[in-house]
Every structure is written in structure tokens, then in C-alpha cells.
Symmetry: C2
């Protein structure tokens, strides 16, 4: 091992809480047996060096992956220096910031900047057991016919980009028993502030609920009733851009350079022309002009919006639309405003690719985990990569974050911006059940896009935004039962909430193991990705699993459970 | 190449200015010939894929290192997706975020979050040509006897931790001609606000110049006179802690839990006892209690300090004392206050170890580059590592930052907190000249600690804080001439200001090359680190250097310049 590229203290050491620091390491796969040796830089003489083992949680072709969490006094964590002890070719060696040493010393130890209270990840205290349910309000349920817009089409009409079916906040309130029966305990609503479209991403008044959806009072009522059932509620915050008909943008259109709002946007020429050259907009769609968040007036306006609704309705956080196109500096400032109002609020960023840049910048708590979704689909649905490649990518992804960060990620299979999951599965329910199992076993908060729990189908927008078929709906639907099962496990099983993770690729049998475990519980998902039936005895022995601990089989074929069929999986649970 | 650990978009892609993005890559050393392929994620169909070469600037045992800077329209930079094309075993391959592909595609390209104006590094427009001069005000020059404290000892007395010799701001003003003759063009002053010690790190009034040093008027005059000479001035900002006798801390001592300032500090017990258990302090030194920067009142207090002095005296920035123990979240907020007042101000953090965490967090512009100093000393002075190890570490360090970040680092050989450089060199001037050459050749702003330019000696504090010997001082001192030479090169040679960097370890001859080059100029430093004389002809040929371009030889031995003696160096300059 000639380089020190195996641990970057700027990236691989994360303050989880004021008294917890997670440290990650990878090693070349021939090295092994790792301990973290650490000391307080001011107190080395007094207290000396302490140590604790690193836990290997995965191994790939090239590397072994380790984690550990240091806990203790703030000063112990914050004036931390450390190094790693490992064995290479039978020799003890130490990885320092300035390279590998063959003798024991403290010079060149990794050293961390002191992290203040506010520098910690500090997830909301309620996040561990949550399962999100995403609602596209116009299409979930119509609870109040009086606020239906003119031209509202019958519930269940073919969805188009422009039509309305009358969904509203009262509708959601009316369906809380249903949501309770599914078991979800967190709601994410697509935008509900005044706008001109059915999706409401083109805001015209951030301080009013869209009249088609109801009133601030309805929102307050919804949040209160949800809170009574221990359901959290977050709203969609669309601040990368506003609507073309937002009065401030209209003011610029009308008054041009004289407008007091001209620096609220990115205007490229006057008079303002509705064209790509005229002004910047989201994805070059001119009806949603981009807001200039480097303008202090815009910043204050947005701070006022979040303050208003957090105080007015007591919501539990925000999903930031197109967060990957908003100034990171501004997102950080926004986060500190949101957290000052409610330290337990969550901020979830929309991002479709690698989220590390946003997460590392301290700008948001969580992201819509499209990256993980892509990876799962590449392997499980599209089979465009091998199991070995899948493992390498899943391990790589998991290694990039602390468990605290992974634990609050918004893990989704679909949304209002994708085809429906069962459609993406080509109707194959077995594939969906496999995805479900993997989704619930991995760290993070699983998400149900409204209607997916009853197998709603549909290609991407507008077809993934159909009306929820309440008339035909039954909670006896087999998919619903599956979702219900996993949601109840997420809520009851501490290992799924805060357990460590272990990922194992069994090359010979082409099986795959995802294990979550804490001090009191261990849950293992074993999947057969080979094309033939696999006998379980030797695998059980290798993994230390007892057959009798099996709590779930995806198929009752091979009911003796001594074997597992291709693309089927078993779940085992051990209480420790 | 089976993993994608060779480029991390969260770390290795840096927005330098709103229209410049630097992208870094390392490759296994057997791979080669790299191009960056990039596209606007919204405009792939319209504009297709563009490409430009990556520049290899170093090679180590295991890796090749590449950089490139993308320039262009904001949107081209900000909606950027990209991949790397390279050759491996004669085959063309592409590195994507999801691994290496053997066919051309765009799926899985690296994708960057949009970076807003304020997310850019954006170095101060004046930084490139600067050489800092650090002054410990109590010991530089006594320009006003009237403000000497009681018991002031004669100038040139043996320095102790407690004694005073009368240095002040008027003294600095009086010596500007001297500083001009040396050529430096930026001043960093150790603390000058009211305090009770000779070093003034125990502030008692942040809004007043210590009366022993002068008045706010003196500071204004100093800054104005410096600006007339194009010398920038920054002050020491000590906000990790204040002095024991700061009135707010005294208030807590006296009023205990009733004090309105109790949450300004980290008090562990009441009544407040002056002990390690009583309250947190810097390095456990109880006379400097730690300030609680997560308290909004403390934040505002510090914002008021920087606003006051930036407006009052027009200073050009701040050096943040013990920045690596200040809450990063607060440093970020501080930076935005400082930059709002003056976008061209610089913020330099004190940090003794790896600075990446601070730099990556966007909390500061620059750091005191003790990390580089340690590396140079390990090899050049202590010879505790081999040239190969030195090269690997220097390349590793350089790879961790964009050239824009490296270019504004405060590169120092010594300070008020270390032994004097000539003392560290054991009196060996040849070693010092070698360090000087390397320091001025590497990206960043070299620093002169007052008196080092005339060979002042002294172990660490208090002996490195002796009075500047003006009586015996001559600018004909050979060291002075050397510093003068390098400072003038830094100010005149654009390659040293903004040139790219190339680092080359010549294994056979044990020579080392540091080259800086831009479109108009190339400057090369060639050092013989072997223990025998090296003939230059073949090396010149290998490096494409013509003997006639030599502008500096560290020794006139071997004046024919066909060879280079051990630990000697040549500098070559080519105008392109």
C-alpha cells in the first residue's frame, strides 16, 4: 500500500451528533484486521492513545470497507487525531495522513477540524422509523367539490398535462384512515401554493394555498390530524424558479429595467422576451423563470416563506424542488433558517444524480435517492450489469455516506416525474417484490408514491399522475399486503431503523446478502440471483443463519425452505 | 480499472469563477491519453458532446494526475455532465460515475449540481502576485515612545513571554520604505486589538486598537499608506476565544448564572472556577475562554467586529486564529459577512494539519499552509523521507486542491508560533535557499516572517519574537538579496502567479523538477537531490530545457553549468 488514498479526513469522517463521529476507511483487499487508534491532540501525554476496532461491512474485488463510530465527550471527539492500524503481509502497519508507517508514532496522524454543534449531521429525532407517502394533491382525493376549478373532469379521467380532477387537502384529510391502514407515517405533498397549473410548480403566490386545494386552515387541520396519528408532513418548496405569472416577474415584463424586481431573476435582455435568450428558466422552460438567490431580497423573501408556513402550519420540513440547480451557498443559509425554527425539521433535496456534493456541503439533510434507484433498476430490472458490478456499485455508493446520512435518505422507486414502478417492472410483480425488499432493507426511508401500493400503472408524466381509484380500491390487494408487511417491519424493527449494514456477494452461488444489525436484532435478506435453484444449507452455515429464523419467503415454492429459487428471497430475523 | 475511485465529482470538480470549472482526475499509471467529454444536460440533442484534453501534470508510482479548466457560458458550466475518455491496454474506454464503459454513451455521466455565483472560489483579484510579510507588532518597530507600556525594556532585550519592548503601528508606518525595498506587497499583522498580553491573543476590547500599539487613526493611516504603495493589509481575528479579562467573561465570573453573557461561553459549572473543569478554553489555557459561536448574540458581536474594522480602516481581510477549532457553520456565515462588505477581501485560516475539510466546506479562502511546510521540512531539512516519498506526498497534496485554491494559500516557512527558519535549518543557509526556491515556485503566496529576511535566529516562542535589530540591519545582507530576488520574480513573472504546475521526479538522476507555465512564460526549478554531481545535458534534453535560459544558479561551483552539485539548483525561464 503505497498511497494514502484510502481515507480522506475531509470526506470520510463525519460528525453525526455533538458526541458521535463516524469514520470510514477502505483498504486494499489483501490487508486486514483494522483498529482505529485515536487521541486528544492536547492531551496525548495525559491520556495516551485509545483504540477500537473498525467493522468490515463489505468487501469488493479490490477493497475492504470499514466503519466505526466514536462516541464520547465532545472534546474527545473534537480535538481528535487518529491513525489506522492494520496488517499487511503479516506485518503490522499504520496508515497516517502522511502515508503508511512501519513503526508506532503519532506524528502525521489524521487531524480533524473541531466541529461545532451546528456542524453535526444531527438527523431529526423522528426519522429512523419513517416511511414516506408521496401525494400529488390534484389526483389523490377530492374532499371538497366546492373548490373544484372550472372544467374539472370526472375523477378517473385520462390524465393530461392540463386537466383537473379536483383533488384537494380535504381529500387527504378524509383518507387518513386509509393511510393509517397502509401504515405510512410521513407525508410528502407536491406543491400546494397558488399556481396556474395542475402540478403547481409554477408558483404565483407562495403565501397562499392554491384555492383549488383549499385554505391555510385546511393545511393546519391536515397537519394537526396527521400529528395526532404520528404522521409527519413536509411540503414542496419550489424556489429555484417561480411561475411566469408570479406578480414580481410580471412586473419585470411590464416595467423592464425600471422594475424593482429586475434583479430577482436572470434577465438577459430588455424588453423581456419570452424566449431562451430572454431570461434563464428551469430546464429552459420559459414559463418558470429562475430566481436569483444571490440577491439578498430574494433570500429574505424565501426565508419569509419558510418561516411563515413553519409557524402557520407546523409542518415538519421541506422537499426542495430542483435543489441541484440552486446556489449551494443559499441552500446552506436556508437550512439554518429552517433549523432555527425547528431543529427537528428535515430538508430533502431533489437531485437525480450523485448527491455527495450537496450532502457534503451541509446544505441539506437528505436527498431523493434517484441514484440508488438507478442502480437497483440497472441490475434488478434491466440486468445491464452483473451481480459483481452491482455489488461494487452498491458498496461504493454506501461507502460515500455516513450511516446517519444514509438513514435519512428519501429512497424512492418512483415519483410524479417517472413512470409508475409496476409499469417500470413491465408488470412483473416478482420484480417489484424484490425491489421492495431491497428498498426496505437498505438504510434510509422508503417511499410509496400514492397508488403504487395498489398497483397503479402509468408511463411518465402525465400518466403517472392519474386519479387514485378509490371506487375500485381494496386493501386486500396483494401488493398492498406486501407494502403493509414491509412498512410494519420498518416501524417495529430497530435493526431496520438504526442497524449497521453488511453487504455480501457470494460469488459461487450468485446469492446476495443484505444484513442490518444492532445490539438487539439482526435482519438478513438473502436473494438468489443465479439462474438455478440454490441449496441453502452451506450458505446458511457460511452466514451463520438458522433456517428457523426465516420470517418471510417470497415464494412458497420450495416450501421446505432448504433451497431458494432464482430471483426469490428469504428474510431471517434473529433477536440477540 | 474496476472501480470509480479515480474522480469524485463532489471533491474533484471546483467552480473557480462563475465561468470556470476545474476538473481533476487521477488514473492508474498504466492508463493514458485522457480527454474530458462534456455536455449540457438539457442540450445534449442540440449541441452534442464537446471535448478537450486533460493535462497530465504529475505521475507517481501508482497514478497519473490530470487537470483541466472548462471555461465558457455559465449554463455550459452549470448544467454540466461529463465523462473521461482514456486508453487502457490499447483500448479506448470511458470513465463514468457508474463505472468504466467500453462503449460510447452518455448514461451515467458525472453530473454536477449547479453552482451559483457565490459558490465559486473567486479569489481576490489582487492575490496572484502577493508576497506576505508577517509582523508581530510588539517587536517590529517602536515608532512612538509615548505609548510604551510601563516597564518597557530596551529594544533588543531578550524576549520573554511577558516583557514589552514598545513596538507599535507608528513603527510599522515608519518602516514602509524598508518593506518596499524588500519588495513585499501584503502585510499580516498579529493581533492589535486591546488585550492584556504582549501577543494580544487575549482580547479584552475588539473595537479598540491596543493603546500600546496606537489608535484607530494609526491603523487607518497605516492602511492608507500601504495602499498607496499597493501593499495589502490583513489583521488577526481572534474569535475562537477572548481574554479572561474580557468584560463579558468577567461578568460571568461575577454574576454566574445570572449573567446575561453566560451563554457566550462554554461554562461547565457555577460558580465559575478558573480550571479545566470550569469552562472550555483554547488548548485548555484558562486565560482564553472559548466563545460559543452557535449563540446568535456572539455571531452578531463578531459580525459587528469585522464590519466595524473593514469600514473603519479599509483592511483587505482577516487571518482567523485557531480557525480549525471554530464551528465551520459559523465560519461560513462570517465569510459571507466579510465578502458582502468587500468581495475582494481574503480570509485565511490558521490550521496546522490537513486543510481540505475547511477549504471544501467553503468556510475560508485560504489557510496557513503548515501542511506543506511540514512536508518540505520532512524531506529537505530532516531527510526523514525519500525523494520518492516526497514526490508522492507533494503530488497528493497538490491534487487535493484546485490551482485557484492553491494559488491563494499562505505558504510559510515560519511564524510567531515556530522556531525561526534559519534556526530550523540549523544555520545552514544552503538549505534555506533551497526552501526559498521551492516555496516561491509552488502555487500560493510566499510569506516572510519579519526578520527572517535578515537571518534572525530564535527557537519557538518567546525567542522567535525578538525585536527587529534595526541598528545592525543592512539590506546588503546576502539572505535579504535572495528574498528580494524571489519576491521580484513573484511580482514580475506571470507563470509564478497563475501558471499551471508540473512536478517531476527523475528516478535515475535523483533530480526534481518544479515547473510553472502559462501561455506566455515557463519557469523551471531543477534540483539535484542525489549525493553526487549530475551532468545536465541529458536532463536538459529530457526536459526540453536550453542551458542558455538559466536565470539562477544556487552555486557558482560548476559555473560552466554543465553539471549540478548535490542539493544545488538551477532556475530556467523561457518566454513563449
Amino acid at each position: 500500500m503505497t498511497t494514502n488514498f484510502y481515507h480522506d479526513p475531509a470526506v470520510d469522517a463525519v460528525l453525526i451528533s455533538p458526541r458521535q463521529m463516524e469514520i470510514r476507511l477502505r483498504l486494499p483487499s489483501q490487508d486486514t484486521a483494522v483498529r482505529l487508534l485515536y487521541w486528544n491532540k492536547y492531551k496525548l501525554d495525559q491520556y495516551g492513545i485509545q483504540s477500537q476496532p473498525m467493522v468490515m461491512w463489505a468487501e469488493s474485488e479490490d477493497y475492504k470497507y470499514y466503519r466505526t463510530v466514536l462516541t464520547g465527550m465532545e472534546s474527545r471527539i473534537r480535538y481528535l487525531q487518529y491513525k489506522f492500524e492494520f496488517e499487511s503481509g503479516g506485518e503490522r502497519q499504520w496508515l497516517h495522513s502522511d502515508g503508511v508507517k512501519h513503526t508506532e508514532e503519532t506524528k502525521g496522524g489524521f487531524s480533524l477540524s473541531y466541529a461545532g454543534d451546528r456542524d453535526a449531521i444531527d438527523p431529526p429525532d423522528w426519522i429512523g422509523s419513517r416511511v414516506w407517502y408521496q401525494i400529488f394533491p390534484e389526483r389523490f382525493s377530492n374532499g371538497n367539490k366546492d373548490n373544484d376549478p372550472e372544467g374539472t373532469e370526472p375523477w378517473g379521467s385520462v390524465p393530461t398535462r392540463d386537466n383537473y380532477m379536483g383533488g384537494d387537502l380535504q381529500g387527504i384529510i378524509d383518507r387518513l384512515d386509509y393511510l393509517d391502514s397502509l401504515g405510512i407515517n410521513a407525508l410528502y405533498l407536491n406543491p400546494i401554493f397558488s399556481a396556474t397549473s395542475n402540478h403547481k410548480y409554477d408558483t404565483i403566490d407562495y403565501f397562499a394555498i392554491d384555492p383549488q386545494f383549499g385554505t391555510a386552515d385546511d393545511l393546519r387541520q391536515l397537519v394537526n390530524k396527521c400529528h395526532e396519528r404520528d404522521i409527519k408532513v413536509i411540503l414542496d418548496l419550489v424556489i429555484n424558479h417561480c411561475g411566469y405569472y408570479h406578480p414580481y416577474f410580471q412586473n419585470v415584463i411590464q416595467q423592464g429595467e425600471q422594475s424593482e424586481y429586475k434583479d430577482w431573476f436572470y434577465i438577459n435582455q430588455y424588453p423581456v422576451v419570452r424566449s431562451e435568450e430572454g431570461y434563464d428558466s428551469v430546464g429552459y422552460y420559459q414559463w418558470m423563470p429562475k430566481l436569483r438567490t444571490s440577491n439578498p431580497a430574494v433570500q429574505q423573501y424565501i426565508f419569509d416563506i419558510v418561516s411563515f408556513w413553519q409557524k402557520e402550519a407546523g409542518i415538519d420540513g421541506w422537499r426542495i424542488d430542483v435543489a441541484d440547480e440552486v446556489e449551494i451557498s443559499f441552500l446552506r443559509e436556508l437550512k439554518s433558517v429552517v433549523k432555527r425554527l425547528n431543529p427537528n425539521a428535515i430538508i430533502i433535496a431533489e437531485i437525480w444524480d450523485d448527491a455527495k456534493r450537496l450532502m457534503l456541503s451541509g446544505a441539506v439533510d437528505s436527498v431523493m435517492n434517484y441514484e440508488l434507484r438507478t442502480l437497483l433498476f440497472d441490475f434488478i430490472l434491466d440486468r445491464s450489469i452483473t451481480l459483481r458490478q452491482f455489488h461494487a456499485r452498491l458498496v461504493h455508493f454506501t461507502h460515500r455516506y455516513s450511516l446517519a446520512e444514509l438513514g435519512q435518505m428519501f429512497n424512492l422507486l418512483g415519483s410524479h416525474d417517472t413512470e409508475r414502478i409496476i409499469t417500470r417492472c413491465g408488470g412483473n410483480e416478482e420484480d417489484l417484490l424484490l425491489l421492495l425488499a431491497v428498498q426496505f432493507m437498505l438504510p434510509g426511508n422508503p417511499t410509496v408514491y400514492y397508488g403504487d401500493e395498489i398497483g397503479m400503472t402509468g408511463e411518465n408524466d402525465p400518466y403517472c399522475r392519474a386519479a387514485m381509484p378509490w371506487e375500485r380500491l381494496t386493501i386486500e390487494h396483494p401488493l398492498f399486503k406486501q407494502w403493509q408487511f414491509w412498512i410494519s417491519r420498518k416501524k417495529s424493527d430497530s435493526a431496520l431503523q438504526n442497524g449497521g449494514i453488511e453487504l455480501q456477494y457470494m460469488e459461487e452461488s450468485e446469492c446476495y446478502l443484505i444484513r442490518r444489525a444492532n445490539e438487539s436484532q439482526s435482519i438478513s435478506l438473502l436473494i438468489n440471483f443465479s439462474s438455478s435453484e440454490v441449496q441453502l444449507e452451506s450458505i446458511h452455515n457460511e452466514l451463520g443463519i438458522r433456517e428457523s429464523t426465516c420470517i418471510y419467503r417470497s415464494s412458497e415454492l420450495g416450501a421446505a425452505a432448504a433451497s431458494i429459487h432464482p430471483r426469490q428471497f428469504h428474510v431471517y430475523q434473529t433477536t440477540i
